[in-house]
């Protein structure tokens, strides 16, 4: 029985999803179309969480900082006004650069808060959000003069809360078109996500991946063996931040709208809940968990408001139910994992 332990949580989510689909009374094509969009938007976020878990740092809730890096670079590209194809490449390069810088800072901070990485990374996420807000809500237009006046609010201070990036949305539309359910989409984002997944898998099997694993197993022994613990942990965080920024660029590109102040909020919660739903623990996570988790968790996410509408005549209830599921999954995982650790 013991070898099936890791499938209990995914099976639980599968049963909930099936019940949700039955209660929501929706077509299969609708769910597939929604799943396609959510897979493209959130896929890489889950992969971003894998490295810190391997390095024994628990869930990295500061992937929001990576998302912020992506939003900053997207805003700068919009501000200067490149043509979409060039702008997209520049945005990716810029966000990778920014996330290396931010990842370094986060890694240093988390190395000082060993044993409390999760709550510290969460507070770093909140703090980064506020600093980001002060730059774009207050400093933009007063201290920083933008090239493109259209992105500012009419009073001249602060960036608009929503920017249309319609031209970026059509970037992939004519390449490898496919039809998934009701959605007309392109195969390119899926291929990108699968390639990133394979890269992540290869890194976990490489030298640096083994180092991360041994640091995660036992920090003191790893130090004795000659592994530079602090550096390894920092590399894990930097890679996680880079992946998160790439994920946010995919998200914005697919959505076609840049929500400047709210686009990055709660990403960490949903990504980590989805990864845990796929059977990951705080000690062990791989890309299999990520890909199982995203389908199970987001299926539940799609159907629960509709199920709430059908059963209770109140769509808000489904909304509450799904945030309860998201947070509840994390609490449940915390209870299971930390209990094992203390034993």
């Amino acid at each position: 029985m013991k070898r099936y332990n890791e499938y209990y949580v995914p099976i639980f989510f599968l049963i909930l999803s099936i019940l949700g689909i039955v209660a929501a009374r929706v077509g299969f094509n609708f769910i597939l179309a929604e799943l396609y969009a959510r897979f493209v938007r959130n896929g890489i976020f889950l992969l971003a969480l894998i490295f810190p878990i391997m390095a024994g740092m628990g869930i990295n809730f500061s992937i929001t900082i990576g998302a912020i890096a992506a939003q900053i670079s997207m805003l700068i590209v919009m501000d200067i006004g490149f043509v979409p194809s060039l702008g997209f490449i520049i945005a990716i390069l810029l966000s990778v650069t920014l996330s290396i810088i931010f990842g370094n800072i986060i890694g240093n901070l988390l190395n000082r808060a060993k044993g409390k990485e999760m709550i510290a990374s969460m507070v770093i996420g909140f703090l980064g959000t506020s600093l980001y807000q002060i730059v774009f809500m207050v400093a933009y237009g007063t201290v920083i003069k933008p090239f493109n006046k259209d992105i500012l609010l009419t009073r001249g201070i602060g960036v608009k809360s929503m920017l249309d990036i319609g031209e970026y949305k059509d970037l992939f539309s004519n390449l490898l078109p496919i039809r998934i359910g009701d959605a007309e989409g392109s195969l390119v984002p899926i291929i990108i996500i699968i390639i990133v997944g394979i890269i992540v898998h290869l890194i976990t099997k490489s030298k640096i991946g083994y180092r991360m694993n041994s640091v995660g197993e036992n920090m003191y022994l790893a130090e004795k063996v000659g592994i530079h613990v602090d550096n390894t942990r920092k590399i894990a965080i930097i890679m996680s931040t880079i992946l998160a920024s790439l994920a946010q660029i995919m998200f914005i590109q697919n959505l076609g709208i840049l929500n400047v102040y709210t686009g990055h909020l709660n990403l960490d919660i949903f990504a980590s809940a989805a990864l845990l739903a796929g059977g990951a623990t705080f000690k062990k996570a791989n890309i299999k968990n990520a890909f199982i988790g995203i389908f199970l968790f987001h299926t539940l996410f799609i159907v629960s408001p509709l199920a709430g509408q059908n059963i209770f005549k109140n769509p808000a209830l489904g909304e509450y139910f799904r945030s309860c599921i998201a947070y509840g999954t994390i609490v449940f995982a915390l209870m299971i994992n930390l209990k094992i650790k203390t034993e």
Partner: protein, 345 residues
């Protein structure tokens, strides 16, 4: 003797306060109004901050699961409103019912936290976050009948902000109010706060309180001397939850509304930040830390609102408030990490 620890966060906070106080003079807002408001804000949030003390002293970390205790208080007030109890009766009964519910919630919360010693803060954060959607389900399904509490249309589910006018809104604020010139002192409100603070202080001096204080110092030793650690932790967690329930009732009567649904979502972080400003450490917090920290924290943000408005950027005060709040909490985590490492060497 309590020595006031002055570290980077406290220094930044005090200098920010001084800058704000000086700039108020140029904006032309009378200081007296601000002092009057600051006294009310102090007690309004003070009881919530006070509720962190028992849990810190028993070594169960700073209570990021504050929304659980708050939900108990909100539920107590909703039950009182359902039976239309007004004035002092309503206030007293809502404290009574809120405390009873807080005992129940606190007991369940303590079972969770006792299983996971050493990780209370992250568990508490998520326990609090996940409790709010559960309460949201309850608020929208509960069979309350008082029309003033329900959504105006449909008659199903409580409204997000329930007005307390005609029940017990401002009952403590207006009790024994003393006017000295333009200075208004809400003596009843401050006395209520002091009585609660004194109770916590006395509790720390009792046999049980001293036993609790030695648990975080040396858990193995405490266990050997025959202290039932789990039981003491449970009592402290329940006590914290009761104080949080009373805290939200005091908060609501000053605010004038009961704020349901996502209202308590982010209430834990400002409270934790306030007690850290007051100089509380990981395992030790005193009533004095609570009073000083809450006053500094709340006054700073009270003053920042008119200054930000004068600069024509009203969002700025809220953003700076968030930066300060989270920055101070993060500083505490980092600082503790360094100190722990030094001790090991």
């Amino acid at each position: 003797m309590k020595r006031l620890r002055l570290e980077a966060p406290q220094l930044i906070m005090i200098s920010y306060l001084v800058i704000l106080a000086v700039s108020l003079k140029y904006i032309g807002i009378p200081y007296m109004d601000m002092i009057n408001d600051s006294l009310i804000k102090w007690v309004m949030n003070g009881v919530l901050v006070l509720s962190l003390v028992p849990m810190i002293n028993v070594g169960a970390g700073r209570n990021f699961g504050l929304p659980i205790g708050i939900s108990a208080g909100l539920l107590g007030m909703c039950i009182v409103l359902e039976f239309r109890l007004e004035g002092w009766l309503g206030f007293g009964v809502s404290i009574l019912i809120g405390s009873i519910i807080a005992i129940l919630f606190g007991y369940i919360y303590s079972i969770v936290l006792n299983r996971l010693k050493g990780n209370e803060e992250i568990v508490g954060t998520f326990a609090g976050f996940s409790f709010i959607p559960i309460m949201n389900l309850f608020w929208s399904l509960a069979p309350f009948k008082n029309r003033q509490m329900l959504y105006p249309v449909g008659g199903q589910g409580l409204r997000p902000k329930i007005n307390l006018d005609g029940y017990f809104g401002g009952i403590l604020d207006n009790f024994l109010k003393i006017n000295i010139g333009s200075l208004t002192i809400p003596l009843g409100l401050i006395m209520f706060f002091f009585i609660l603070c004194f109770m916590v202080y006395l509790f720390q001096r009792t046999r049980m309180g001293i036993a609790m204080a030695c648990i975080p110092e040396n858990e193995a030793f405490a266990k050997l001397s025959g202290i039932n650690i789990d039981r003491y932790r449970r009592i402290a967690i329940i006590f914290s939850n009761i104080l949080a329930a009373i805290g939200i009732i005091v908060y609501s009567q000053s605010y004038g509304f009961i704020h349901l649904y996502d209202g308590p979502f982010m209430m834990a972080f400002p409270a934790v930040s306030a007690i850290l400003i007051g100089g509380a450490t990981k395992n030790k917090a005193t009533v004095f830390n609570v009073m000083l920290g809450t006053y500094l924290y709340q006054t700073t943000f009270l003053l920042s609102v008119p200054v930000a408005n004068a600069l024509l950027i009203p969002e700025m005060s809220e953003i700076i408030r968030m930066i300060m709040t989270n920055g101070i909490i993060l500083y505490a985590f980092l600082y503790e990490g360094v100190r722990k490492r030094n001790e090991k060497v």
